[in-house]
Symmetry: C2
Subunit: 285 residues, 2 copies
């Protein structure tokens, strides 16, 4: 079995052309490489070099050998990467969120339950979540609908209602509740990274100009101090984060009243038992 360290040095020589250059690249000395190359030839029982007094060159076999050697080096690097990736995956819980509020609420809970593990969270519309659970891309997911799939275990974990904040005196504030379609055509403040919410906003209000805010602070700042309508959530409202000087009106569309469901593969239900035991219908509220 040929020592991979020799192959590494051999390939470095192939790329550098001289032992001294290779020695510098490998942070070692020329004499060390001289000996290593001799040992490689010895181990293989094959001559790889043509030696003149002060020049070392690969012979025909040596050139081919150097190219073959790359495959072995690649295989070895691959091995290391794959083992580490596998191990990392065992130490990582990957979870998909369909909306920001579930992430806000569940992240601290996940961190306490799965102490020492990496929590990797994505946020996006949840249409693909069932597939991603089945392909093991996600270990957990928070959906806004029960997928009713026998391979997916689901537990309701909360609820969220959507409101709209408007300037006092806006005609819409005189209704006890309004529809998204009533907002069509206006300019409205909206956060990016809001998962599934994004999609039906676009469906119901195709002519609306959304003023997307990446940063939550900017969003609150603008919501408070501009005349643009902005969305508000029961979650933040119940925690006193209403926009002063604005009037908040309920949205009547059913999509604006959503339940949240925590899901995992039925086969992995036991693995996440502690988590499911911890949550209930009012965890996200």
């Amino acid at each position: 079995m040929i020592d991979i360290h020799l192959l590494e040095q051999f390939h470095a020589f192939y790329e550098c052309g001289t032992l001294s250059a290779a020695a510098e690249q490998l942070h070692t000395s020329q004499p060390a490489l001289t000996r290593a190359m001799k040992k490689l030839e010895e181990d293989l029982g094959v001559t790889l070099f043509v030696r003149s007094k002060n020049q070392l060159k690969l012979n025909d076999t040596g050139i081919h050998a150097a190219e073959y050697a790359r495959d072995v080096l690649d295989a070895d690097r691959d091995f290391e990467a794959k083992v580490k990736a596998y191990e990392r995956r065992l130490r990582t819980i990957s979870i998909g969120f369909c909306a920001p509020v579930p992430q806000t609420v569940l992240t601290p809970i996940l961190n306490t339950i799965f102490d020492g593990m990496t929590i990797s969270a994505d946020m996006m519309d949840d249409i693909e979540f069932v597939d991603r659970l089945k392909s093991h891309e996600y270990n957990l997911a928070v959906l806004h609908e029960d997928p009713k799939d026998k391979d997916i275990y689901v537990k309701k974990c909360g609820h969220e209602d959507l409101f709209i904040s408007l300037m006092p005196g806006d005609p819409l504030t005189f209704y006890p509740e309004i529809h998204l379609s009533d907002l069509d055509g206006k300019s409205i403040l909206l956060l990016t990274r809001i998962g599934f919410w994004m999609n039906f906003h676009k469906d119901k209000t195709p002519n609306t100009n959304y003023l997307l805010q990446i940063d939550m602070d900017s969003f609150f700042e603008l919501s408070q101090n501009s005349s643009y309508p902005s969305f508000a959530s029961s979650y933040y409202m119940s925690r006193g984060q209403e926009f002063k000087g604005k009037v908040t009106v309920a949205l009547a569309d059913p999509e604006c009243h959503t339940d949240y469901f925590l899901a995992c593969l039925t086969s992995e239900k036991e693995k996440y038992k502690t988590l499911f035991d911890r949550i209930n219908e009012t965890t996200i509220l």
Copy 2:
């Protein structure tokens, strides 16, 4: 870079199940393996085993790692095999013969000219020889026809005539020469491994029962002491190896009078100059 020797030991443990069994397989000691496995984990920065007081088991990552390790070991073995094969090929001259007499004559010449190299000789009908020269499967070939191919360099190196030995009194012995077709339907002694000769015997005498002899001695013995007709060659006849008590008749068919041509790739003509200089039209006669 992970030491391949560690992977070898690791994979042995995976296959054997215990360190002691692996140690025996690898002709080493248990303590050496204990330390090696620790070092592998250390080098990778990954835990591969679950250790109880007197049992060592692979964990989930370890099982996968052992399977990945096989790829690296295979790659390393491949490397060694490929380098050796390449080197061997450089030290081997592969030559195809279309008939046994050229092989008999040329083999000692090849051995003196290419001293230290391995001579690998095949014998078969020469229809594929040009292709095999072009694909580098053969370095040299002896053909019974000039292929007239610009990529193939050819030099005539001899001639051979075919005769038939018959019992005295056989009606065919009254002709000065006969045709192969005259022999059809008889039982005739024939050597195996006669290259291209085999094919036209079968073409011209489809109803003949050939009594194939693998061994040259058996062939001479039977030719001498049985009443079966047998083939004879100008080469052996000119060296006094006629069959006593038999009458030898010339064969008139043009295929029974063949020239031999030594061939190589035109591009490698210089490489075999010494050989081509040595041979001439009467080398094989």
